[in-house]
């Protein structure tokens, strides 16, 4: 019965079909209320997020023939628009309490988290010294939407409004289990990368990429990528550990 509901409620989840999830559904539900993630799922999720990022660049470069340096706002817009469905749909598959929470609900709260996270990111950036001004408004909005996809949206999709989980991930940084790694590491990577990315901005090299969101975006993307690789490595390591324990 539950299987039926589960399948019905996951009409679009790209990960619910196909045999590569290891057939662990029954086991995982018995072990913990939280849905666990296999290494291949983590790999596939991170790969598609990374590919979506690359696709954003590809589209902006080949279709619109613009790039981050020449048209930061348009490029950032394309990146987040392309990445948004992938991030929301994938991470919604790993939502907590899948039996209580419908897939569509997870998607909806992920979408709701997008502007909220963008607001948080924008406020943080402005407090740190991002330029204020009408001419920077579009760039700041698009940048913070992208940052929101890196940081907040996965968490909203997965944890919803569960305060304890948020607290664990973002305040204490004590990720526990594969899913936590997948949310926590890329988000922190993106934030730290963006923080370091702001460093070259005041230098007087007068390069176009020193403009406000460009190098910060690059930093965030690099940090995000490193975070994803790290998260995958940890998931892999954890999987092996469990395997050994089981043996």
């Amino acid at each position: 019965m539950r299987d039926q509901i589960d399948k019905q409620s996951n009409p679009f989840c790209p990960l619910s079909t196909g045999g590569w999830s290891g057939g662990g559904k029954h086991n995982m539900r018995k072990k913990s209320p939280q849905s666990t993630v296999s290494a291949s799922q983590a790999f596939f999720t991170h790969l598609s997020c990374g590919l979506a990022l690359a696709a954003g660049f590809w589209v902006s470069h080949n279709v619109y023939s613009i790039n981050l340096v020449s048209h930061p706002d348009h490029t950032l817009f394309l990146i987040w628009v392309i990445q948004c469905p992938l991030v929301v749909l994938f991470y919604s598959c790993f939502r907590k309490n899948p039996e209580k929470c419908l897939y569509l609900k997870a998607v909806a709260r992920g979408l709701l988290g997008l502007p909220l996270g963008a607001l948080l990111n924008a406020l943080g950036a402005l407090a740190l010294g991002a330029p204020v001004g009408i001419q920077y408004l579009k760039r700041t909005i698009n940048w913070s939407l992208m940052m929101s996809l890196f940081t907040v949206v996965p968490a909203t999709s997965v944890y919803g409004s569960s305060w304890t989980d948020w607290h664990r991930i973002f305040a204490q940084t004590k990720p526990n289990g594969a899913l936590d790694y997948m949310v926590c590491l890329p988000a922190h990577g993106a934030l730290i990368g963006a923080w370091f990315g702001a460093w070259p901005m005041p230098l007087d090299w007068e390069r176009p990429w020193q403009e406000w969101p460009v190098c910060v975006s690059y930093g965030a993307m690099v940090g995000y990528a490193v975070g994803m690789v790290g998260s995958f490595a940890l998931v892999l390591a954890q999987g092996k550990q469990k395997y050994r324990k089981a043996e």
């Binding site: 406020l123 943080g124 402005l126 407090a127 740190l128 010294g129 330029p131 204020v132 001004g133 009408i134 001419q135 607290h167 973002f170 305040a171 204490q172 923080w195 702001a198 005041p202 230098l203 007087d204």
Partner: protein, 954 residues
Amino acid sequence: MGWWRAGKWPITILVIHIVAILIFTRGFLLTRTELPYYSQCSDLSKSPCVYSDPSSDNETCWTRPAVDRLIIIVLDALRFDFVAPSAFFPESKPWMDKLPVLQKLASSHPSSTRIFKAIADPPTTSLQRLKGLTTGALPTFIDVGNSFGAPAIVEDNFINQMVQNGKRVVMMGDDTWVQLFPNHFNRSYPYPSFNVKDLDTVDNGCIEHLLPSLYEENWDVLIAHFLGVDHAGHIFGVDSFPMIEKLEQYNAVLEEMIEVLRSQSGPGGLHENTFLVVMGDHGQTLNGDHGGGSAEEVETSIFAMSFKDSPPLPSEFDSSVCDTDLDGKKICTSSIQQLDFAVTVSALLGIPFPFGSIGSVNPELYALGAGTSNMEGSNQGNCHDQLKLEEWIKHYVNVLCINSWQVKRYVDIYSASSIIGFSSEDVSHITDLYAKAEENWLSSTRDLLLYKNESYQKSIPALKRQIFYYFDFLSGVAELARSNWTEFNLKMMGIGFGLMLVSLYIYFLAIKRVNKSYGVSLPSCGDSGISFGLIFASFIVVIRASSFLSNSYILEEGKVANFLLATTAIVKLRYSFMKKKMVFEAIVFILLMFILRITIDIGLSKQAATSQFMNASPSWLLGIAISQPIWTSMIEIVPILALIILAYLLCNTTSSSSCRGVPKYVVLGTILSYLLIALHWATENDVLNVALFLKGIERNYIPQTVYAIGFGLILVLALDSLFCTKKTYDCKVNLFVKMVALLSACSSTVIILSGKQGSMFALTSVLLGYCITRLEGIDQDSIHGADGISTLNPVPVVQWSLLAVCLFFATGHWCAFDGLRYGAAFIGFDEFVLVRQAILLTIETFGFSHILSVFGLPIVIAPQYLFSQTDNRSILSVRLIQVFLMYGLIMATTVTATILCVTIQRRHLMVWGLFAPKFVFDVVGLILTDVLICLASVYYTGGLVGNTPHDKTR
């Protein structure tokens, strides 16, 4: 001896710092050695040049006098685009083309009139420029410090030469001239120059005396120095109505003057052979600042005019750029180094060149004056021009010969007599160049000049070759002087830097040892003493310190400090979420950071430099039309509101804690001065029409009263803590009350000096201090049982010091001498008294960032001891001194980094424009901080140690 225990470490470190900085400064800011030699007429016989011109050997000294009378009109801070036609610039601005009389003359009389772009050498402050203009040397950086009390020029200069050679000099305008040349003028009409708000006194005085003087015969050189444009720039900026008004006034004066001169320029007239120079001493930025080396500041203008025609220059010597002006007429401008002005003027007047001058006689400026003199014999035929030209070139070659010989003599004597002269390879290079020129001169050119029998076709190319030999030599010397004049003494710089490192080590030692001197055994700093907080704090300090290695980060220092402070705020927010406490305070902290960063932006865009705070906010900010009446009344009311809130907070703290006696009266006195400040602002801006009510009261009385109250309160507090050590209240409250009393006593003076923004910044810093304290308290509450003693967390101290840096920039300062707000020195006073105004300026500059920050430092340890139950006075004193030492350590670390950076970048292009001012500001700040730390630690621990004698015996 309680004070010695408290002040032992700070005083030791203060002494070390002073010694270190003195030694380093001696190595870094070396002055050029001023040589006490003067050029004499008779000197020329030692030169290889033709010194007695056969044609007119009656009263020739060095060169044949080309002009009889000279008028120098100095318009202070004259930008190049004030004079040059707007066609030379990409877009026309409102302040351009406001001196049309000069442009009209330049286009209608191209052979007798010329506009020059004059390039000044930094530092572009008036005093330095006047010195450079008259001596023809490169003024050194150390002179900037003397800018307020201008000392007499002891080096040889052209004013001195004029006087020595019997020229009568009349001066009017800026009284700096009289200070520079106390006994040189026949007549002088000086007017006080330091009141920046006064746009008209000096100018009106000039105008009053200038025009009548033109009809008089009893002078040879007239100098008139107008200051209005400089002052208008300082107060209102370049793009302002008063500036345009000033320029239009000058235009009218110049027009009238030139008319008078022209009317008497006929043969036998008073001004038959008069040379007129209208020049700026330096430029200014659009905000009216100057002092640095940016293009806007160094590019000024010289307009030169004679009332005769000069021959067309050979194109090799012509640097002019031509364009068509608004009326479609051709107009040309040339370029000149200000360095060359002194020697060119001397050559025109026929006086000996100043001994220390390293400039070269500029061909274009010289040709304007010297062109048609002595042309009586050769005024016929087609070869008239050719003859004229040849005559001129011959003359010019000889002048250059004298010029080069004089410069060579100076270089030789300077190298021999100065302790650290030029490097030997540079000198040998220069000597080679000169030898080549001299050899050519002696072998061929000299004969050409002496025996006039060669044909023009042969002689002119040879003369030109000779001129270029001399040019090579002279430009070589100028280049050498520019690049090498600041001789750094690396050994001394190294010793100074080493001493700074020693002081850092002593800080570490002191922080570890200070508890031992009190005989208190604190629980040792946890496990191995390394916590996350320590690592994070040192990370932040190290980042900030290493950021000084790049000039870009120094320029954006405020933003860097804000970035780091906001980072600590975000980390704290995360921490407070983790502990699920004080989230509200953390959010307020970040919101305040947001406000602070906007004000830093404004401050950095140099627009808050003028006293109007919100008016200066760039219009991009929120797109609000500033001229709206609601907005303007907001600007008036918000600062007063902030003051009232501050007063309310003060009332609250004193009434809530059991505060009696002296502190209570101090706080009451402060509230009284707050009221006075509010009244002062209200009368200034005519809010609520109180101005009418207070019309009788002189506007200076209120600020003066506020200063007096502040001074009196501090005195009372100091005496109180010195003599009345028997206190009945317990130490925690005592410390807090003492802090509030001292801060409030200092604050009123700082606020009134900072202008309207002052009260808002005071409120902001109080709030931020509260947030930092509360956030620091997160941990303390959790280990409530353990007597409130934990390791001292360095993060809040770092935050506090970053906040101090942010406040320095947010209040509209930056590390440059044009960042000083000279206007603040005149709040409450109209006339200039060096010591008084310097003290006010220091208080204004360092008020928020140093004075209030150091005195407010106990707030950082407040949560540990104010809100917990400990009663141990010794521990409190130890903590207090540790906090002060830690703050001092952070300051010293950044200053050490600055010193290292200055050492590394000493050959950097911006060393005088950027690194040296930063160094001076940092060093002054460090010494000030050290002194304040000494005072504060004695003051705060005084009551604590004094009445616990039993601590010693423990």
